[in-house]
């Protein structure tokens, strides 16, 4: 048992979150392997955000069990937070800080030492080709660069798992493609990627996806298997067939 726990980045068993009578998350169970790119799909209001908040150590479940990077969501929120990275659709960089200052700030928040920050930021700036923009305010960077920078910052402290909440909102298709290249690189280096998205072409890039409907995980498999199961060759169709039974209205 202990052995398998170590290989799994995330384990959820019967995880439930209730707000009064309302079951935002209704007994969901799934596992995410280390180094896997796991797509977390669902219509608005299906309970994705609530589930993700629990996994990020931001709120407590009502019942069920879950571990993230081997840490318990009830008792070890602090440990979870140290071992995950997070990026939201807002990209969440400080506009009136320069590129380097943003990197230094987030590095500092995660407790990296000064030499570590220095070394890694130099490396990061080089990889992203941002040498000329280091001293520029982030507010002046194009959206696509901001997004790449936000992702790099989210994995700057080398977390075990990175949570991406609709990370490609409002970004053009080419940049989105490049962004996914970065995700693959991160996954190849051993970081588990947990990503929510509304773009079905992106769902295809994931190793496995789960689809949430009305607080429940209705399907979980690789994109190819899901398409085979629903006798279709498009993920759109898979998603539509699963989600159309939803009773909840989007929030």
């Amino acid at each position: 048992m202990q052995k398998t726990m170590e290989n799994k980045a995330i384990i959820c068993r019967e995880l439930t979150k209730e707000f009064g009578d309302f079951k935002a998350v209704d007994r969901i169970s799934f596992e995410v392997n280390q180094g896997e790119i796991f797509g977390f799909l669902g219509a608005n209001g299906a309970g994705k955000t609530t589930a993700m908040r629990i996994l990020c150590g931001l709120s407590y479940p009502s019942s069920g069990e879950a571990t993230v990077a081997g840490f318990d969501v009830y008792k070890q929120q602090e440990q979870i937070k140290k071992n995950i990275g997070y990026m939201s659709q807002k990209f969440s960089l400080y506009d009136n800080l320069t590129t380097l200052e943003n990197i230094e700030f987030y590095g500092g928040v995660y407790g990296l030492s000064r030499p570590e920050i220095k070394e890694r930021s130099a490396q990061l700036v080089h990889t992203l080709g941002l040498e000329k923009e280091v001293k520029k305010l982030v507010g002046d960077l194009p959206l696509g660069w901001k997004q790449k920078l936000a992702f790099s910052v989210a994995i700057f402290h080398r977390p075990k798992i990175v949570f991406l909440d609709e990370p490609t909102g409002g970004v053009d298709p080419i940049t989105r493609r490049q962004f996914w290249d970065m995700i693959y690189e991160a996954a190849a280096s051993g970081i588990t990627v947990f990503v929510t998205t509304h773009y079905m072409d992106e769902a295809e890039y994931c190793h496995r996806i789960s689809v949430m409907v009305d607080g429940r995980v209705e399907a979980i498999d690789s994109p190819a298997n899901l398409k085979a199961r629903f006798h279709t060759d498009s993920m759109d169709e898979v998603f539509y067939q699963l989600a159309r039974g939803a009773k909840r209205t989007a929030d």
Partner: protein, 368 residues
């Protein structure tokens, strides 16, 4: 500790790169001090006065001269009838007028009693009262001059002293109020906006997901504004002492300690506001309308609390700046020690602790 430092440094970047914030932070105190110190002076100086002298004798001449030599009044060209006086009241060149009747001097000597008419523009009642008082005291002093040896069987001579402010320096009253006001603006408004801005940007989410403890986020947000408020405090004190000639009579250390307490009260208020609002505009509006107006009106620095309806007097008891205003006034202007302000300090401390507790609780419940 290192985390806190990283965070605080970031906050300072924000402050120093935002012109709007900088302007509010350092422009406002200076403007306010100058405005309240000079423009909004309640002192009576160089007030236009017209004299209609129908008697033209030695007594009227001497009284006129006395008025002219006083710094309160500025004598306008003599007038000969009431229509002229009224005209001057209307165009604003005078705020009061003095009318000597025909035979003023003769009546005074022959019958031992003469009449004189004082007319004041009472559209501003306070000033009108002050002016007539000044005029009466000038006339009274002339009267005494006339009878140096007169034997009055019973005489009461009031010996008035204006305690704590012998020179009647009007800035004295404003400075403590302005200090309270500025802390309200800098600490409450700017802090609430700073926190809400992170919510709007989405960076708050990232901070909450990070290992930073929520308390740390709040502390890190508050400390820069505490420091900046203290710098402001020094600026205001320096301006007051050198520009407005306000003398600090009490202990400067006590002033600082009390100010730090009040700044923390304001910061707690700001954090509380930021927890219940979602946009920078709302936060600004609540801070400005909800905090500044009561500070302006209900602390007693612009309008005496004692004259207000009971309801407002009651409300004023929950306004933190009211207590701070009393403390600062007592320490700075009267030179009193902690023994005289401990009650107000206690109230303020209690308010601060409660506000902080509520702010923290709100911040945490939002996470659950």
């Amino acid at each position: 500790m290192k985390l806190l430092f990283v965070f605080i440094r970031k906050e300072f970047y924000h402050v120093f790169r935002d012109r709007r914030t900088l302007l509010i932070l350092f422009g406002l105190p200076i403007v306010q001090i100058i405005l309240f110190g000079y423009a909004l002076s309640s002192e009576v100086k160089n007030i236009g006065i017209a004299i209609q002298d129908n008697a033209h004798d030695i007594h009227t001449a001497q009284i006129t001269e006395k008025i002219q030599s006083s710094s309160y009044f500025k004598l306008q060209p003599a007038v000969s009838n009431y229509a002229d006086i009224e005209q001057q009241f209307k165009n604003g060149s005078i705020k009061c007028a003095l009318v000597f009747p025909v035979n003023f001097g003769a009546d005074l000597l022959r019958t031992g009693g003469a009449q004189i008419q004082l007319i004041a523009d009472a559209s501003d009642p306070n000033t009108a009262t002050t002016l007539t008082n000044y005029l009466q005291s000038i006339i009274n002093s002339y009267q005494q001059q006339l009878n140096p040896n007169a034997k009055i069987s019973y005489e009461i001579i009031p010996e008035t002293r204006q305690l704590y402010n012998e020179e009647q320096n009007g800035s004295l009253n404003f400075v403590p109020g302005v200090i309270a006001l500025i802390f309200m603006i800098v600490s409450t408004a700017l802090t609430s906006v700073a926190v809400v801005r992170e919510k709007e940007l989405g960076t708050m989410e990232i901070l909450l997901v990070s290992p930073l403890k929520p308390v740390m986020v709040l502390i890190a947000k508050a400390i820069p504004y505490l420091v900046l408020s203290l710098i402001n405090f020094v600026v205001i004190l320096v301006l007051s002492v050198f520009l407005l000639k306000v003398e600090i009579k009490g202990s400067v250390a006590l002033l600082f300690a009390e100010s730090i307490l009040f700044i923390i009260t304001c910061l707690a208020l700001g954090l509380l506001i930021s927890n219940v609002t979602a946009s920078q505009q709302t936060a600004m509006l609540i801070s400005m309308m909800g905090m500044m107006l009561p500070t302006l009106i209900l602390t007693g620095f612009m309008f005496p609390l004692e004259n207000m309806p009971v309801l407002f007097q009651l409300i004023s008891h929950v306004i933190p700046s009211r207590y701070y205003y009393i403390i600062i006034k007592n320490v700075m202007l009267k030179g009193l020690g902690f023994g005289y302000v401990w009650k107000e300090t206690l109230v303020l401390a209690f308010m601060t602790v409660s506000l902080l507790a509520i702010a923290l609780r709100k911040f945490k419940t939002r996470l659950a």
